[in-house]
C-alpha cells in the first residue's frame, strides 16, 4: 500500500536539520504500523511525506505502487485520512459540518453529504452531538469527530500523528479501540505515530523505531519488543 525508498530530508535554515536519513518503510494493506521515537526523531516528517505535505530531497514515496510525483496530490489526499494531536477542527462549523467537509471539497451533494456524515457519527458514537459547537466537546469527543471526518470519504489509509497524546489513559484506550475496530471493519491501513510503548503493543502489527532521522529497528511488534536490538528500542522497553 505504502512504500518509502531511501528517503532523505534536510530542513534548511540557519542550522540545517537532517530530519530523515535514508528511511525505508513498507506498509501492507490492512496493516496497523506504528512509528515510535523520541521528540525530534523525524516521525512527523516521515508521516507527512506519505500524503505529500512534505516532499523528499531524495528517494521515492509510493502509494499503491505509484510514485507520489505521478499522483495528482489532491486526488491522493482524498484517498488518505489524517488525524492530529490538536484535532484541527474548524470552529466556524458545528460537528456535522466538520465531518462533511471532505465531501464538500469533492462537491458531493448536500443530501448525500449529510447522510454519510450521520452514518460516520453513528460509527464513532456521537450521533447526539450532531449540531453541537466543537468548542463544547471533550478531547475524546473531538478526536472521534476528527476520526469521522478523516474516514468519511472511505480512504484506504489513515495517518495518525500522536492522535492520543492529548488524551487521558482511559480515553486513549477508547480511541485506540475505535481505530482498531474501524481498521478491521473498513479494511483500513493505518500508520500511527506515538511515543508511548503502550499504544504500539495495544494495536500495532508492525513497528518502526526512529532515532535521529533514522529507522533503527523495524519488524513485527512481538519480535521487536521481545528481542530488541537497537539501544533506543531497549530504552523504550525499560521506560515502561
Amino acid at each position: 500500500m505504502i512504500k518509502v525508498n531511501s528517503v532523505c530530508k534536510t530542513f534548511k535554515g540557519q542550522v540545517p536539520v537532517e530530519a530523515l536519513k535514508n528511511v525505508n518503510l513498507n506498509v501492507e494493506a490492512g496493516e496497523i504500523h506504528g512509528i515510535i521515537g523520541l521528540s525530534g526523531a523525524g516521525k512527523s516528517t516521515l508521516l507527512r511525506m506519505l500524503n505529500g505535505l512534505e516532499v523528499p530531497d531524495s528517494g521515492e514515496v509510493f502509494f499503491k505502487d505509484q510514485n507520489l510525483k505521478q499522483w495528482q496530490i489532491h486526488k491522493l489526499r482524498q484517498r488518505t485520512g489524517m488525524i492530529f494531536q490538536h484535532f484541527n477542527l474548524l470552529s466556524s462549523r458545528n460537528v456535522i459540518d466538520n465531518v462533511c467537509l471532505p465531501l464538500e471539497l469533492t462537491k458531493v451533494s448536500k443530501k448525500d453529504r449529510y447522510e454519510k456524515a450521520e452514518e460516520m457519527l453513528a460509527l464513532v458514537g456521537l450521533s447526539d452531538k450532531r449540531n453541537s459547537a466543537v468548542s463544547t466537546l471533550s478531547g475524546g469527543q473531538k478526536q472521534r469527530v476528527v476520526i469521522a471526518r478523516a474516514l468519511i470519504n472511505t480512504p484506504e489509509v489513515l495517518l495518525c500523528d500522536e492522535a492520543t497524546s492529548a488524551l487521558d489513559p482511559i480515553t486513549t484506550n477508547e480511541i485506540l479501540d475505535l481505530i482498531q475496530k474501524l481498521s478491521k471493519q473498513l479494511n483500513l491501513t493505518v500508520v500511527l505515530i506515538t511515543h508511548e510503548m503502550g499504544v504500539i503493543t495495544k494495536i500495532c502489527h508492525y513497528v518502526s523505531v526512529m532515532d535521529h532521522g533514522m529507522i533503527v529497528e523495524q519488524g513485527p511488534v512481538k519480535e521487536v519488543f521481545s528481542n530488541p536490538k537497537a539501544i533506543r528500542t531497549q530504552g523504550f522497553i525499560k521506560a515502561v
Partner: protein, 215 residues
C-alpha cells in the same frame, strides 16, 4: 442654531463612511488574502511579491491622510468628474483606506492556526477552497472587528475631508465653528460624531458576539 442643520451633514457623513468602508473592504480582502498566500510556505509562497505589496502598503500608510487624499484627487476627477462634495470624497477615502484594510485582513487571517490549514490541505483541498472554507470563515470575528475599526477611522478621515470640501459633519464643524466662531455648532458636530462612533462600535460588537455565540 437650528438642530435640523445637522441632519444633512450627518447623512452625508454616514453615506461617505458606509460606502468607502464597503469599497475599502472589497479592495482590502483580496489584498489581505494575497499577502497571506504569498507569505505561506505551502500555499503560494512568493517572497518578492509579498515584499512588493507589503512595501506599497507601508508607503501609503506613512503618507498623512489629508495629503494622500489631495494626491488622489485626480482619480476622483477621473471617476466622478469633480473633486468637491460627498461623491468625490468617497473615491480618495476608499482608496486611501484600502491598503490599511489589506493589513487588517492579513492580520485577521494570520490568526487562523497553520495546523488547521494543513489539516484541510491533507483532505485534498485546493487553494481556493482553503480561502473560502477555512481562512475567511475561521477569521470572520477578527475580520468584523477589523472592519469596525476601519469604519471608525473613516469617520475621522471623512471629517478631515470636510476641510477640503468633502461635505459632512467635518465640513459643518469647520465652516461654522472655525470660520464663523459658532462654538455651539462645533460642539454639536463633535457630539454627533462621538455618537456615530459609539453606534458603529456597538453594531460591530454585536455582530462579533452573534458570530462567536455559535462557536
Amino acid at each position: 442654531m437650528e438642530i435640523s442643520m445637522i441632519i444633512k451633514p450627518l447623512l452625508e457623513t454616514i453615506q461617505m463612511v458606509v460606502i468607502s468602508t464597503g469599497i475599502a473592504t472589497l479592495l482590502g480582502i483580496p489584498i489581505g488574502i494575497g499577502l497571506i498566500l504569498f507569505d505561506q510556505k505551502s500555499l503560494k509562497a512568493n517572497k518578492g511579491l509579498y515584499q512588493l505589496i507589503s512595501g506599497l502598503i507601508n508607503i501609503t500608510r506613512s503618507i498623512p491622510f489629508l495629503i494622500l487624499m489631495i494626491l488622489l484627487f485626480p482619480v476622483s476627477r477621473l471617476i466622478v468628474g469633480t473633486t468637491i462634495g460627498t461623491a468625490a470624497t468617497i473615491v480618495p477615502l476608499s482608496l486611501a483606506a484600502a491598503p490599511f484594510m489589506g493589513r487588517i485582513v492579513e492580520g485577521a487571517l494570520k490568526e487562523v492556526p497553520y495546523g488547521l490549514i494543513e489539516a484541510v490541505l491533507a483532505m485534498g483541498a485546493k487553494k481556493t477552497q482553503i480561502i473560502f472554507k477555512v481562512l475567511i470563515p475561521e477569521a470572520l470575528p477578527g475580520l468584523v472587528r477589523g472592519i469596525t475599526l476601519m469604519m471608525i477611522n473613516l469617520v475621522g478621515y471623512s471629517a478631515m475631508a470636510g476641510a477640503i470640501g468633502g461635505g459632512g459633519l467635518g465640513d459643518l464643524a469647520i465652516r461654522y465653528g472655525y470660520h464663523r466662531y459658532q462654538m455651539d455648532v462645533l460642539i454639536l458636530a463633535v457630539i454627533v460624531i462621538i455618537g456615530l462612533v459609539a453606534v458603529i462600535q456597538s453594531i460591530g460588537n454585536l455582530t462579533t458576539k452573534v458570530i462567536e455565540r455559535k462557536r
